[in-house]
């Protein structure tokens, strides 16, 4: 039955996440952006909330909750409202854990999933994006060549979050032209983590270039073994996660610019009392809600194990535009104040533009 109300359990998770975002992330996000660093303490606090381990089955040490894309979307939005860099850092291990959970063999699950159920944050990541114009996840330049009892990986990756500290990498590569995922452990010969990248936004998130030079991995490290993985589903889970986070960033920008507009007086009245400003805010509010509902619908399809390519692609494209519009207008509404780093609007604009680039950097 068509319904727009989250379950009680989801509402509890939302309120817990919201509180964390407000009490922890919002206190330090500017500092993190300026220093290009996130304190370990905040990551550890978030990890203890069990956002990743809660959907890992008890057999592997998790709490055995349902793995739901809708719940993931709700969490993604709330966290991203707090701060996008921290959100991506906190949820980074899921880039590895969730594909293994959904598509790994029993062996792979048994070997890797328990690592994500400890008290201590487990850095793991995924490498999808490649540093070329015209990058297409379905037509990767990185290759995986079967060779004897294993695969040989070759290629260049970029925007790999936490590559320097990660023990586990899920590397996406073309095998006979189709994109598949391969598990590469830290220290494998030929796996080289490059310099930390310098980006326009998400500055507090450490991302790296990664190169694979004749990097040999055993046969059983192909995600899903002989069956391989459902790459489209992974992409759709990523699109949904990014759309949810874009909604959160837009909501942050909306709330801040709304409050500013009510406070800022020009020509005797708050600028929010002028339609030129008020209508911008109204449009942002409408588009945020629309994006959220579209995200939920795509997530709902994922939860039903149906093909969500259409819904997920549509909402991703919509969300990319929406978050740009919302964050740009937030800066515009604040005027000169929006341009200075004393206010967060410019930070959200820089982060907002990134969503078009962030393929595979978040997952539900």
């Amino acid at each position: 039955m068509i319904s727009f109300s989250p379950t009680e359990e989801q509402q509890m998770i939302v309120s817990m996440t919201k509180q964390f975002a407000n009490d922890e992330m919002r206190k330090i996000y500017r500092e993190c952006d300026e220093n290009e660093e996130i304190p370990t303490s905040v990551i550890d606090t978030a990890w203890k909330m069990g956002l990743t381990s809660s959907s890992i089955p008890e057999d592997y040490g998790g709490s055995g909750g349902e793995h739901s894309a809708i719940t993931g979307s709700l969490i993604g939005e709330e966290l991203a409202w707090g701060d996008l860099s921290m959100t991506m850092h906190i949820l980074c291990p899921a880039l590895f854990a969730y594909p293994v959970l959904e598509m790994g063999t029993d062996m792979q699950k048994k070997k890797y999933l328990p690592l994500f159920c400890n008290e201590q944050y487990k850095a793991a990541t995924a490498a999808l994006i490649e540093p070329y114009f015209g990058f297409d996840p379905y037509s990767l330049s990185t290759t995986a060549r079967p060779d004897g009892n294993g695969y040989v990986l070759n290629g260049e990756k970029c925007y790999v979050p936490l590559a320097a500290e990660a023990d586990l990498f899920l590397v996406y590569a073309a095998e006979n032209g189709s994109s598949k995922a391969f598990i590469v452990e830290k220290g494998t010969n030929g796996l080289e983590v490059g310099e930390r990248e310098k980006n326009m936004g998400i500055k507090a998130l450490a991302t790296y270039e990664l190169s694979l030079k004749n990097c040999r991995i055993p046969k059983e490290n192909r995600l899903g073994s002989e069956n391989g993985c459902d790459f489209s589903r992974i992409m759709n889970c990523s699109r949904v996660a990014l759309s949810a986070m874009a909604t959160g960033v837009a909501k942050a920008a909306f709330e801040y610019s709304r409050d500013y507009a009510k406070d800022r007086v020009a020509f005797g009245d708050p600028i929010a009392s002028r339609q030129a400003i008020a209508f911008m805010l109204a449009e942002i509010a409408i588009e945020i809600d629309a994006t959220r509902l579209m995200t939920w619908e795509a997530a709902w399809r994922l939860d039903r194990k149906e093909d969500a390519t259409k819904e997920a692609s549509l909402v991703r494209a919509y969300a990319d535009d929406m978050v740009m519009m919302a964050t740009d207008r937030a800066v515009q509404i604040l005027g000169g104040h929006g341009y200075v780093r004393e206010h967060p609007a410019e930070l959200w604009l820089r982060n907002g533009r990134g969503f078009v680039t962030f393929d595979g950097m978040a997952i539900v």
Binding site: S3, F4, P6, N236, S273, F279, I286, A290, A317
Partner: protein, 398 residues
């Protein structure tokens, strides 16, 4: 639980409505567009028959939204000919007493086809409904109505077919402003109410849009909706006006659902035409690899989906008895504009096929535009959204 799966009953409702749209609406769509103001009698009789069976019942819920989308996929102008209590009924639901509901709507579905209209707009006031000049004067056990109402959707059918009704907004005390504004139920064929003219329009030409004149039109005292008392408590918080606004919370998502039906008709036409040409829209490919055409279609589809989900939410809230003033206006503003743009873009993409009256696409573009105008223009709805999100009164944000 967040869920987007219609119930089996809703799926059946969609199927039935779609059949009607395809078999009863589409074949005569062009004819009644060209023959403006000619009554589609067969369609009226058939839909009236169905109405009594409940298969086309239009409540204020998700099912109604789904049904309306299908029927307007068929033809929005013809949809506005389907008999029923309509906007007049919505006004009575929103602010009438139980006794009034029973008296005016209790046997509405019996006998011959009937319509219920709402008369609010005047030559001198549209969106600013508080500026209404029509008057209602008490005379013993009666109200005497005087004034001119324009743009009354299905006004002629409601005023002239026995058993129908027109809900008229008039002031009982001009000096009281909004507080003096009340609504009155005028039964069809009441003397003193007459149809002055029918508008010739850009689109939805099958639907009659009437000017109604009230010239010493007498109705029973108990036909006033809500209290007759004029309470000048607070200029912005008055019950008569609130009644009108509560009506809009119900009718705006309905108009949004209409828009969505028209938008889908245009989108379906574009996609079917492209398919015949061997062009299929692929989803999930990177932006830089999309053609301009694919970008356009994807943008249309995304906006369509955005509008549809906002509309379903507004009606779902209504069915849950949750206040939906903000969400109703969001849906209306988004759907009205999105579908206006979608149909205009569709005509552009289809080129000579889009512009030709040989096909229905150009008609849908003309039909779509009304959804960004009636039940509050896009701008009025944006204003309402803005006031709500800013928590501003009408005096703080004009």
């Amino acid at each position: 639980m967040i869920d987007f799966e219609p119930t089996p009953e809703q799926k059946e409702a969609v199927k039935v409505a779609h059949e009607f749209a395809r078999e009863l609406f589409r074949p005569v769509s062009r004819y009644y567009d060209e023959q403006e103001h000619e009554s589609p009698q067969e369609l009226i009789d058939k839909t009236w028959g169905e109405r009594n069976k409940g298969t086309l019942a239009l409540g204020l819920d998700v099912t109604a939204s789904l049904r309306i989308e299908e029927l307007c996929w068929g033809d929005a102008g013809l949809f506005l000919c389907v008999p029923g209590p309509g906007l007049g009924g919505a006004a009575i639901f929103a602010s009438g007493t139980k006794e009034q509901l029973q008296r005016f709507l209790g046997s509405f579905n019996e006998g011959e086809p009937k319509w219920g209209a709402m008369a609010m707009t005047e030559p001198g006031c549209g969106s600013d409904t508080s500026a209404i000049t029509a008057t209602a004067t008490r005379d013993g056990d009666e109200w005497v109505l005087n004034g001119e109402k324009i743009f009354v959707t299905w006004g002629k059918r409601a005023a002239e077919n026995p058993g129908g009704l027109v809900v008229v907004w008039a002031t009982v005390d001009k000096s009281a402003g909004r507080a003096g504004m009340k609504s009155f139920v005028v039964p069809a064929k009441t003397s003193g109410m007459r149809v002055e003219k029918l508008e010739k329009k850009l689109g939805i030409r099958a639907s009659d849009t009437a000017t109604l004149i009230f010239d010493n039109c007498r109705i029973p005292f108990e036909n006033i909706l809500g209290s007759a008392e004029v309470k000048k408590v607070d200029k912005s918080q008055t019950k008569g006006f609130k009644g009108a606004m509560a009506t809009f919370d119900a009718t705006r998502p309905i108009v949004a659902a209409m828009a969505i039906g028209v938008g889908r008709a245009a989108l379906d036409f574009v996609k079917e035409t492209l398919e015949k040409e061997g062009i299929t829209i692929q989803y999930g490919i990177p932006k830089q690899k999309l053609t301009a055409l694919e970008r356009d279609v994807i943008e249309m589809e995304a906006n369509f989906k955005a509008a549809k989900l906002l509309t379903l939410r507004a009606l779902w809230m209504m069915s849950q008895f949750q206040p939906n003033n903000l969400e109703a206006s969001m849906a209306k503003a988004k759907a009205g504009l999105a579908v206006t743009k979608i149909t205009q873009k569709a005509v552009e993409i289809m080129g000579p096929l889009g512009y030709s009256r040989k096909y229905l696409l150009e008609k849908w573009m003309r039909d779509a535009k009304i959804n960004d105008i009636f039940e509050g223009t896009g701008q009025i709805n944006m204003l309402i959204v803005a006031r709500r999100v800013l928590d501003y009164s009408r005096d703080q944000l004009k």
